[in-house]
Subunit: 364 residues, 4 copies
C-alpha cells in the first residue's frame, strides 16, 4: 500500500452498528468510506437524509459522510472497496454477505450468520487473530482469489473471552466458566428495547444470547488444526461454559460476573490472575494497529469497578476492563468484566480485524 | 389472647424499613401500632412531622399513625408492647435491641447485628420457622421469662434461600450454589444510593453483601442440634455458596441468577425442579398466618420472567418468584429468582415471623 | 336496571389502554366484561393467549378474563353490551366506532377521532359531564334511539383542565394559560418509546400533543349552546392556551407546570386558589359514582410535591394532584399539576363517564 | 505573556465542579494546574487519594494531576497562581473567596455568593464579558492592585440567557420571559440527588433555583452604568421573568422550555428568530478564546431536538442548543434550549471568563 487510503464500504449503514462504523471510519488513517449500503427505503438518498430520525449518536454525522449516496447492498456498487464492513441484521446478512464474497470482496462482518461456518474465522481482535490463517483455505474451497468473510463475535462473548484468553495463556486451559451478564440496551439496536420493559426493571432473558456465549467461546479459544483448514473445538474435552443473560437499564457497556476453574491445580491466586491480565498482550497490539488499545485488559484496583458509565469510554472503548478479582468458594477465581458493546463489542472489532488483516497482507 | 389486638412497637420508625413496618401493620388483624421509636431529632414530634420529607412510599401515611408521638428507643416507652419490630440501622441496633430484650421485650429485628449470634435464630419465615425452638434456650441463658430476639435475613439472602430450601426438601442436600444478584436501590435505604452512581450504570459491589449471602444461607438451611440449644452449620461438609452482588437501576425487587448442584446424583430434571418449587409449602402457610402468601414460590412459564417491575407486587410481595428453570452446563440446574426486598426481604419477614410466633404461643 | 350488572365490551382489549380497561372493569359493581375485541392476529384466541408477551401490568390478568375469547371489532359480537369501551388506536377507531354507533351501541372512547366532532361530547369526568346533554341531539341527527359516541380527552389535557375548571368556577373565566408537560412513557403505548430515546434523556416533542391541549381545553371548558345542540368555543374571545410537551423517563404520571391569568382583576391570591381547588366538587362526585375520587383535586402543602412516583396511585389514580401554588411574575398564578395518565388520563375517564351516563339514565 | 503558561489554582478541587475544572485545565494551552485546595479531610494527600471514591467522571484523572498535593484553601498556598478557580460550595465560598481576593489573587468563581454583589460582575462568557469593565472599580473600592472576584451564573440561568441576549441584540429589549426547566442530576453535585427521588420520577422543585433564574437574568442582560461603577438593573421597567424548575432523570444537560415577548411589536417571526440565534456572535468568539465554541447557539431543524443525551457534548459542551422555535399563543415566541450544565453551565464558564480576562489584559 502506498499513501492512498483503502476505500471501504459499509453495509447496513443506517442501522445502529452501521452508524458506529461511520464514526469509527470517518477519520481513519488507512481506510476511507467510499460506499454505503442499506435497505430499499434508504436507497438513492444522501446518507444524512436516509438516516434522518434514526441517528442516535452523541456526535453529529461526520460532515463528509452526509452527502454520500446510499446504495442497495449489491456487490456492483462496492467494486472499488478493498474492505466491506457489514453491520447488517442477520436476516439479510446471510445471502448478502455470501454474494459479496462470491464477487471477490472481503467482508468483515458483525452479523452472526457465518460465525459457526466451518470455513469462516470468528475473531475477537484481542484474542485470536491467528485464526485468519484459515482464510487461504476458505478462498481455495470457494475458488476465490480475493474474497472471504471474517466474522467477529457477539458483543457479550467478546466481553468475557479476552480475559479468558489471557488466563489460558498464563495458566493453561480453563475447565469451567460461569457467566452472568448485565447487558446494555444498545445491544438490541434501535428502536430495540421498549422503555416500558426496562425502566425500573430487568429482563432476565435475551433470545439466543446464552447459547452464543457458550458456543462462540469454544470456537474463539480453540485453535486451528489440520494444517489450518479446520477449527479445533475440542469436542472430546470441551470447555464447559454456562451463561445467564440479563437486559438492564444501561445505555452502553455490558457487565459480566465471571467465575472460572482451571484444569491445572492448584489454581493461581487472585494476585497472579491480576498480574496475568495486566500483562496480557495480543497480536493487534504488537502489530501496532491503529485501533488497538494500549492496554488490552485494564485491571481496576477499586472495590467497586469497573462500572459501565465510568469505564466504557476508556481507551475509546477498545479494551476490556476487569475488577474485583477474588477467590470463588465454588470454582477457583471470580471477577467482574466490562466491554463497550458498541465499540469493541461491535464496530471496533470489525475494524480492528481489518487492520490486522492489512498488516498480515490479507488486503493486498 | 382474647379479641384485643396485640400492641406493637416499631424501632427506627422514620427510616425506610420503619415506613414499611407502618404500612404493613397499620391495618393488621392481630397487631396494632402502639409505640414508635426513632433517633433524637424525631423525639417528641408526631410521626407525620418527624418523617416529613423522608416518607418515600407510594401511599400516604396511614391517618391514624400521623399523630402517634415518636419516642426515644428506650424500653420504658414500649412496656405495653407484646412485640417490638426493629427497623434500626446496624449502628444503634446492637445495644438498643439488647436493652429491649434485657427489659423482657420480644424483638423481631431486621437488623444484621444478632443474625450470627449463637443464641438468636435467623429466620426466613418461608423457610426455617422451626428455628424458633431455640428461643427457650436463649431465654434461659439470659435468665429472661419473656424477652428474646428473633432476626430475619438480609434481603438478598431471603430472595434465594426459599427456593434452595424447597430443593433440599425435595431432592436432598445441595452441594454448590452460585448466585449473582441484581439488587434494587431501595435495599440501601434513603438517601442511600446516589443517582449519579446508578443512572445508566451498575455498581458491581455492595459492601458486606456477598459475605452475608454466603454465611446466612448456611445458618438458615442448617438445623438445630444438641437438643435445640445450638445451630448446626455443618462445619465439616459445608454447603459451598459463591455470591456476586450488583446494584442496579431498579426501585424495588432483587433479582438473582442462581445455579446449583445436588449432592445426590443424578440431579433432578428442570421439570422436576419446577414441580418441587411449585409444591413447596412452609409452616407459615400451614399455620394460616395472615401475611403468608398463598403460593410460597410462584413458578413462571414465560421465558422472560420474573421481572422486578411486573412481579414484585404479586401476593403483596410476600412470596418468591422463580423462572427460567433449565439445565446448567457447569452445575446441575440454573434459574432466576425474584424477591420483593422491601416486603418479604424486610418488613414482611419480621411481621410474618411474629405471626408464626403468635401461633406457636411465643407471644403469650 | 335491576341487580344485574350491565354487560360491557372492550375494543382494543390487548393494547395498553385496553389492559387498563380490563383491570378497571374486572371487579366493577355495575359493569361486567362480556366481550373483547382486538385486531385480526388476536381473533379466536382466549384473551390470555392473545395478550401473551404484551401484558405489561404490575398485576396479573384477572383470572375470569383469561379465557374470554377475543373477537373481531364488529358490532355483531357486542350486541348484548350496554356499553362498549374503546381503547382503539386512532387508525382503526374512526370507522369502527362509527359502525358501533350505527349499530345502536353506546361507545365510550379514549381515541382521539371524534373529540373534535360537532356532535360528540369531549368529556373529562371531573369537569364537564353536563356536555352529555348533547347526546339526544347526536342521536336525533343520526336517527338512532340508543347509539352514541362519548369521548374523553387526551391524557395531558385531562391533567390540567380539572384545575382550570375549578379556577373558572371560583374566579370567573381565565384569560391565558401556559403549560409545560413532562409526560410518562406509558402515554405512548407498547412498545412505544424506545429506551434509547428516553434513558438519560428528554424528548422535547410529542407529535400532535400541544395542539390537542390547546384545542381540547377550549371545548371542555366551553359550554353547550343553541339549546344543547352545539358547543360554545367562544371563537370571538378564545381562551389563549400555549403548551410545550416533553417525554421524560417516568413510567406513569404526567406532570405539568402551569401558569394562568384571569380575566377578572385583581387576581386571586395563592391561598385563595388553593382553597378553591380544595373545595372543587364535580357532578361525578355528587352523583356518587363508583370510580369518582373522594377529593377531585388534592392540594399538596410540601414544597416538592406532587411527584409522579409518590402521588400517582393516590385515590387509585382517579383524582388530580396540585402543588406549589404561587404568584407568577408574568401571568397571575403558577402551580404544578399531576395526573395518572393511564388511570384518570385514560381508562378511568371512560369508565367514569359511563358511570355518570348510567346515573343520568343514558344507559337505559 | 511569553510562552510560559499561567499557573492556576483550583478551590474545591475534589468536588463535582472541581473535577470538571481539572479535566478542562489539564491540557489547556494557556493555563497549567499548579495548586489544589479542598477541605480538611483531603489536605496533605495527593489528589488521586484525596478524591478516591468520589471521582465520577467518564475519563480517568489526568496522570499529571494524580500526585499534586491537596492544600487547605488558604491564599498562602496559591501565591504563585495567576488565576484561582473556585468550585467551592456556597458555605465555605463566601469567606474563602474574599480572603483570596484580599490576598490580591484573582478569583473566577462558580459559587453563588458574590453573584449579587454590587462590585462583582456576574458573567456568562457568551453574553456579557463587557461587565469585566467594572473590575477596576472593584479593585479601587477595595484598594487592591491585582485581586478581584468574577463570578459566573447558575447553570440553569446560563442555559437560557445566551438565547435571550441574542434576541435582544437582534430585536431590542424583551418584555416577558417564561421558563420551565428540566434539570440534570449532576447539577446537584455528589452524592446530591438520591436515586429513590429521581428514578421513575420528577421532583418539581429545586431550592432557590427559580429565584436565581429570575434575578440573575436581569443582572446579566442589564448593562453597566455610572461610568462602569454600577450594574443597571432597570429597576423601573424590569424584565419580567417567571421560572419553574424541575429535577429529572438525566445525568448531564439542562433543558428549558422558554416563551418570550418583545417590547417592540410586531414581534419577529420564528424564521427571523432562528436566523438571529444562528448569527449571534459574542466577544469570547471574536477574541478567539481557546474554549469558545465555534457556534454560540446551534439551531436545530429537527422537530424533536435538542435532546440532552444527543446534543450536550456537541462543541465540547461550550455552546447552547436551541430548537422548536415557533409562535406562542400567549407570548410571542417559544422554543426549547439546552445547556451542558457541567460544561458551559459551570467549569467552562469560569475558564472561558479567565480566557477573556487574559485577552483583555486583566491577568497581567
Amino acid at each position: 500500500m502506498g499513501n492512498a487510503k483503502i476505500k471501504v464500504g459499509i453495509l447496513g449503514a443506517t442501522g445502529t452498528v452501521g452508524q458506529r462504523f461511520i464514526l469509527q471510519l470517518s477519520c481513519h488513517p488507512e481506510f476511507e468510506i467510499a460506499a454505503l449500503g442499506a435497505s430499499a427505503s434508504s436507497v438513492g438518498k444522501p446518507y444524512k437524509e436516509a438516516v434522518s430520525g434514526r441517528w442516535k449518536q452523541a456526535q453529529p454525522i461526520p460532515a463528509h459522510v452526509c452527502d454520500i449516496p446510499v446504495n442497495e447492498c449489491e456487490p456492483e456498487f462496492f467494486k472499488e472497496c478493498g474492505v466491506v464492513f457489514s453491520g447488517l441484521d442477520s436476516k439479510p446478512a446471510g445471502p448478502v454477505e455470501a454474494a459479496f464474497r462470491e464477487a471477490n470482496l472481503r467482508v468483515f462482518s458483525n452479523a452472526k450468520n457465518y460465525r459457526r461456518d466451518s470455513l469462516c474465522p470468528l475473531i475477537v481482535p484481542l484474542v485470536n487473530t491467528d485464526h485468519m490463517d484459515i482464510v487461504p483455505h476458505q478462498q481455495k474451497q470457494l475458488s476465490l482469489d480475493r474474497g472471504y468473510i471474517i466474522t467477529n463475535a457477539n458483543c457479550s462473548t467478546t466481553g468475557i473471552v479476552v480475559a479468558l484468553k489471557a488466563l489460558e495463556v498464563a495458566f493453561g486451559p480453563l475447565d469451567q466458566v460461569m457467566v452472568q451478564t448485565m447487558q446494555a440496551i444498545s445491544g438490541s439496536g434501535y428502536p430495540g428495547v421498549s422503555s416500558l420493559d426496562i425502566l425500573d426493571n430487568i429482563v432476565p432473558f435475551i433470545d439466543g444470547e446464552e447459547d452464543k456465549i457458550e458456543w462462540e467461546t469454544s470456537k474463539i479459544l480453540g485453535g486451528l488444526k489440520d494444517n489450518n483448514t479446520a477449527f479445533d473445538l475440542h469436542a472430546d474435552s470441551p470447555l464447559k461454559v454456562s451463561a445467564q443473560c440479563n437486559r438492564v437499564s444501561v445505555i452502553d457497556g455490558h457487565l459480566a460476573c465471571v467465575s472460572v476453574s482451571f484444569k491445572q491445580q492448584p489454581a493461581p491466586s487472585p494476585e497472579q490472575v491480576a498480574d496475568a491480565l495486566r500483562k496480557y498482550q495480543c497480536e493487534a497490539q504488537t502489530l501496532q494497529c491503529h485501533s488497538a488499545p494500549k492496554q488490552a485488559i485494564t485491571v481496576h484496583e477499586e472495590s467497586d469497578r469497573p462500572q459501565p458509565r465510568l469505564d466504557r469510554e476508556w481507551q475509546n472503548g477498545a479494551g476490556v476492563n476487569v475488577g474485583r478479582i477474588r477467590k470463588c468458594p465454588v470454582l477457583d477465581i471470580k471477577f467482574v468484566s466490562l466491554v463497550n458493546n458498541v465499540m469493541l463489542g461491535a464496530a471496533t472489532s470489525s475494524v480492528l480485524n481489518a487492520e490486522v488483516a492489512l498488516k498480515k497482507g490479507l488486503l493486498s
